[in-house]
């Protein structure tokens, strides 16, 4: 696989030259935080963010996405027929993705792209995307990717990886898509062994220094009902406001809700992010709500991520350790603490 080294200025210039091949998205400063935007909107690009406030999942799985369009005009011969909404699936490059967010794509793939069920839009959007990662030289105190199967330089889910070497970026292709991307990038020079070694040592050092703080080892062996009935849920959930911050910022939360909207004789069917924190999420048409109480909803979120997922797919936890929910939960409900409680739980004790 190809490797190239760019001076930082040359790299920014090269990204600007990709317009004819890709729609390029990258983290741009928006007020107090960074968010993924098209490169055309960039006033200044700096790859010095911790991470974006919202994960890049919104580029693949928009908060609100048109699925179908329909007409209610009785004169229209195609009235009441759902037609797939047009989508732009031209190639796009998402540059500067942190490894945790790329790792999350793999976790979500199990839901959207599996032998039983394939979500056409999610799959097409992912296929059209080239993920160019940026290794984390300085993981945050709230990061715990290493504890959940990732790492600050984890390559899983990425097509290419940038490594910040002070005044230069080393860009390494990891897949064929990444190879293609790198071949289209102008400038840069092939990396020699010395640079590669420097990058390897950096990655090793950062990874080794990062603490592995969140225990997840026992989760898969604990009986599911025991965890479900564990006594700590009320206490964990007390402070929760039942807002959707954690689920909306999370790169691995995939739940959505389908709505029809009509204006005059035109209508659309769209899907919106939904959140298990909302009472409406499980409200039945009959008026009954099986998850009526706050602690049940909080329990659902953690059990789904840390237990049901593990049991269903026999792998991982459904968390990439990005730490967004830890940082931005308005009432400081910390998934690391909850995971610790669950992992250490002794049924019957």
């Amino acid at each position: 696989m190809a490797n190239k080294v760019f001076s930082k200025d040359a790299w920014l210039e090269a990204l600007g030259g990709l317009k004819e091949h890709y729609r390029v998205f990258l983290p741009l400063k928006d007020g107090d935080f960074f968010t993924y935007k098209p490169i055309e909107e960039a006033k200044k690009i700096h790859f010095d963010y911790d991470n974006t406030r919202l994960s890049p999942k919104g580029l693949i799985f928009p908060q609100s996405e048109r699925m179908f369009e329909f007409s209610l005009d009785t004169q229209d011969p195609e009235a009441n027929i759902l037609k797939e909404a047009p989508k732009d699936d031209s190639p796009r490059a998402i540059v500067g993705v942190r490894p945790c967010d790329a790792h999350a794509v793999g976790l979500v793939r199990r839901n959207f792209d599996n032998p039983e069920y394939r979500d056409p839009w999610w799959v097409k959007h992912v296929e059209a995307a080239t993920y160019v990662g940026l290794g984390c030289n300085a993981p945050c105190a709230t990061c715990f990717c290493k504890s959940v199967g990732g790492g600050p330089f984890n390559e899983e889910g990425l097509d290419a990886m940038m490594v910040d070497l002070g005044d230069r970026f080393l860009v390494r292709a990891l897949t064929e898509k990444g190879e293609e991307f790198l071949s289209r990038v102008q400038g840069g020079e092939a990396a020699d062994e010395e640079v590669l070694k420097e990058a390897r040592e950096l990655a090793q050092k950062v990874t080794d220094e990062m603490p592995d703080t969140v225990p997840t080892g026992r989760l898969k062996d604990l009986p599911v009902m025991a965890l479900f009935e564990a006594p700590f849920w009320e206490e964990v959930a007390f402070a929760c406001l039942n807002c959707g911050t954690c689920t909306y910022l999370c790169p691995t939360c995939w739940c959505f809700d389908i709505q029809d909207e009509v204006y005059k004789t035109e209508g659309i069917r769209l899907r919106n992010w939904d959140s298990c924190m909302f009472p409406l999420f499980t409200l039945h048409g009959s008026g009954h709500n099986p998850r009526d109480q706050k602690f049940q909803r909080v329990r659902q979120r953690f059990m789904h991520k840390l237990k049901y997922y593990v049991d269903k797919y026999g792998d991982g936890v459904q968390c990439s350790g990005c730490g967004r929910c830890v940082q931005f939960c308005p009432v400081n409900i910390d998934i690391r603490r909850v995971c610790g409680l669950m992992d250490a739980y002794e049924p019957g004790a």
Binding site: P62, Q63, E65, Y263, E266, L270
Partner: protein, 56 residues
């Protein structure tokens, strides 16, 4: 209600309240004319109209 709507940028001429007794047909016609003139003055509504969702 009116004050907050105006605060977010709905023109003052759009929302009207009145008290009219069922015997006050002439007042009704008066106020109807005032309301009509006021709305006509501010012109067609431009904002706060929900059409099809502007989403991806």
């Amino acid at each position: 209600m009116k004050n907050l709507l105006e605060h977010i940028g709905i023109e003052p001429g759009r929302l009207h309240f009145s008290w009219i007794s069922s015997a006050e047909a002439t007042k009704f016609v008066d106020v109807a004319n005032q309301v009509y003139e006021a709305v006509k003055e501010v012109g067609p509504a431009q904002v706060f109209i929900k059409r099809l969702a502007e989403v991806a």
